[in-house]
């Protein structure tokens, strides 16, 4: 870079600093709560990051976090307004409480305010980490979410780990034994597991191993009771990863650089597990990122069948109880997790495949 361009860049940097300081000062004085002020500062820093970070990964991460914040906001808005568009409210039941009680309840949950104000009040709470309290149980939503997420994450963590490890192994085995018995068996079962919906699989597992054979207990906190839901949860993603790995492994094994590696005298096992697998991983990572988010937050179906009390169950209960804060809380939590997982998988992508250019 020559001097003129450098001084140009410096000028831009100084101008941007001044502008953002002014915005920040104005925001600090006008915004009512501390967390909003902090949020503003973070957003300004991120914008500065997208413009002035010298390496493209840094710029990309800043840009993605900004976009993630906007995404979560939009999702919150859509959930909030569509939920309110449905007729009825959390307290309209067959045995409706008296008008006076209803009024007090509505006052407490700000349901008597106009919609826009309700939304803003909710966001204000959210910024302070306050997910509000459940209209059904009266408990803090954040407590419920974190308690149930602990169960879902344990289930999902095991399921995802097993799915990835087994998927990669089976996929490689199938690719290396193409059109032989091992390949045929693996492909038969993975096709089966992809095709059978998880609620049927979950119900079958529950029926056979729990009720008929009695090998595993009905869901409790014991480790043993995690086995069946983990299996039900991991079968389909494992099969999908197996098939993806097989296809991409076969593609990679036919590439010229594999021939180069063999011509160099690289050991056959190293050719496969170093030279081929790293390339074959690239399409798998694209799938694994969102899958992790999906599995970690708990499949609603599998969790409901096994009555695990995880996040998925709570989400479904929230919807059927028309528990506005519960639905909002879980949705925002899931959205944040999903966005984070996608971002992480994109960054891992860059680590595995240096050709990826974020700009």
């Amino acid at each position: 870079m020559d001097n003129a361009a450098r001084s140009q860049k410096e000028k831009q940097l100084i101008a941007a600093c001044i502008i953002s300081l002014v915005i920040f000062a104005a925001g600090w004085l006008t915004l009512p709560i501390l967390s909003a002020k902090i949020l503003l500062a973070v957003v300004l820093l991120l914008i500065a990051g997208t413009l002035f970070f010298s390496n493209d990964t840094g710029r990309y991460v800043c840009k993605r976090i900004l976009l993630a914040l906007i995404t979560v906001l939009i999702i919150a808005a859509i959930t909030f307004f569509s939920m309110n568009a449905i007729p009825g409210g959390p307290f309209s039941k067959e045995k409706a409480p008296s008008a006076a009680v209803q009024a007090v309840l509505e006052e407490r949950f700000h349901l008597n305010e106009p919609l826009g104000t309700q939304f803003l009040l909710y966001l204000e709470g959210l910024m302070q980490g306050n997910f509000c309290i459940s209209t059904k149980t009266g408990r803090e939503i954040s407590t419920t979410i974190f308690e149930s997420f602990a169960i879902s994450a344990k289930l999902g963590g095991y399921a995802a780990l097993i799915a990835i490890v087994l998927g990669l192994c089976f996929g490689s085995i199938a690719a290396l034994n193409r059109a032989k018995t091992a390949d045929r068996v693996i492909i038969f079962f993975t096709t089966l597991f992809v095709a059978v919906p998880s609620f049927i699989m979950a119900t079958l597992l529950l029926l056979v191993f729990c009720l008929k054979l009695g090998w595993f207990p009905i869901f409790s906190t014991s480790n043993q009771s995690y086995v069946l839901p983990v299996i039900a949860l991991m079968l389909s993603p494992m099969s999908y990863i197996t098939r993806l790995t097989k296809t991409s492994m076969l593609d990679v094994l036919g590439q010229d650089y594999i021939r180069t590696a063999r011509a160099k005298g690289v050991k056959q096992s190293l050719v496969i597990f170093k030279h081929a697998l790293k390339n074959a991983l690239i399409p798998v990572i694209t799938y694994v990122g969102p899958m992790m988010a999906y599995i970690l937050t708990g499949s609603m179906v599998v969790e409901t069948v096994f009555t695990t009390g995880g996040l998925g169950t709570k989400f479904v209960q929230g919807i059927s109880n028309r528990d506005y804060p519960m639905i909002m809380g879980t949705t925002i939590f899931l959205a944040t997790l999903m966005v984070t997982m996608t971002l992480i998988s994109d960054l891992i992508y860059k680590v595995v495949d240096p050709r990826i250019n974020f700009d």
């Binding site: 010229d256 650089y257 180069t260 011509a263 160099k264 005298g265 790293k278 390339n279 240096p354 050709r355």
Partner: protein
């Protein structure tokens, strides 16, 4: 041992087993390669020139099999080597560079790590020595800013640069033979000349023998000591570069030479060889080239021509050559 050629290929047959049947890619080729010599193998796509080289390296794909023949390196049959022996043999005694440098380097590892791997496999040097050797090799093949290149990924290098890296990788362990499978085909013309010159210089410096595989006779005219012309997995003609260019005896060789563009003759149209290559699934009974040959005779369609010696360095497998030599010998007697 001195009179044993470095590499002897004897009656090599290679086939690919496919669903459609056995594809006979190489049908009995033989040649010798002496230490420090350059052998050119010429032929069109599908003539079996690359497959014959892969057979020597034993890096055929799963469906490929060497069905017959011997490959003797210093008198030892490497087709009988165990996979472990073969691993330490490849890259250290014979190494290979390929046609398309854009796809031959692994895209997810740095140039340095691939180069160092090639050195590490065959030597027990320390990390520093390996690094130094990698740097030295890059300098030797004329890569600019070698320290920076070691840290870069293949996609950050140009095609010519990548081919230089491939050459550095192949020569890092000072092999006795370098097999170059169409090393310049995927490069543009100015780079082609540079790469060929580089290979010639390196050959002078390091003294390895080269097997140069190409479909372009023009490319190998100056650098080869001996040339083999292949068609349908067989040797059509074998001889010194001069004999092939100035005294071609096989009709296919003549056709190839007619199809080289010449700078000296203006406005002359190139003469292509009509027709398309034979179906390797069903080889014809007679000469494989007969259906495309302008001078085909009856015997060409029914009987395979045998290799006949024109002189002690020149072989041709063509009935027209047999006829010509017969006529010449009769003419000689009559005189």
């Amino acid at each position: 041992m001195s009179n044993v050629p470095l590499l002897q290929v004897k009656n090599l047959h290679t086939s690919f087993i496919t669903d459609a049947g056995e594809v006979k890619a190489v049908n009995g080729i033989s040649y010798n390669l002496d230490r420090g010599k350059v052998l050119g193998i010429v032929g069109e796509s599908g003539s079996g020139k690359s497959v014959s080289a892969y057979s020597v390296m034993r890096i055929l794909t799963d469906t490929g099999r060497v069905t017959q023949g011997e490959v003797l390196f210093n008198g030892e049959d490497i087709l009988k080597y165990t996979p472990q022996q073969m691993q330490s043999f490849r890259g250290s005694r014979i190494s290979m560079i390929f046609q398309d440098p854009m796809t031959c380097l692994n895209p997810v590892f740095t140039v340095g790590s691939q180069l160092r791997e090639a050195i590490r496999i065959h030597t027990d040097r320390t990390k520093e020595q390996i690094n130094a050797r990698a740097l030295e090799m890059l300098q030797l093949v004329g890569v600019n800013e070698p320290e920076k290149r070691l840290r870069q990924y293949p996609h950050e290098l140009s095609g010519g640069m990548r081919q230089r890296v491939m050459i550095a990788m192949a020569l890092a362990c000072e092999p006795d033979i370098l097999i170059a499978d169409e090393p310049t085909t995927a490069l543009d013309v100015t780079i082609q000349a540079q790469i060929l010159e580089l290979m010639q210089n390196l050959q002078k410096k390091m003294g390895m023998a080269i097997i140069m595989i190409t479909h372009d006779l023009g490319v190998i005219a100056d650098i080869c000591d001996e040339i083999i012309v292949m068609y349908a997995g067989k040797v059509c003609e074998r001889g010194t570069a001069d004999e092939i260019f100035y005294n071609p005896r096989h009709e296919y060789t003549k056709g190839l030479i007619r199809s080289i563009p010449r700078v000296t003759e203006k406005h002359e149209k190139l003469v292509p060889i009509a027709g398309s290559p034979v179906d390797l699934l069903n080889l014809p009974k007679g000469c494989a080239f007969a259906s495309r040959c302008e001078c085909a005779m009856k015997i060409c369609l029914t009987e395979q021509p045998e290799e006949t010696w024109v002189n002690d360095s020149h072989i041709a497998a063509c009935w027209n050559n047999v006829k010509r030599m017969y006529e010449e010998s009769k003419g000689g007697e009559a005189r």
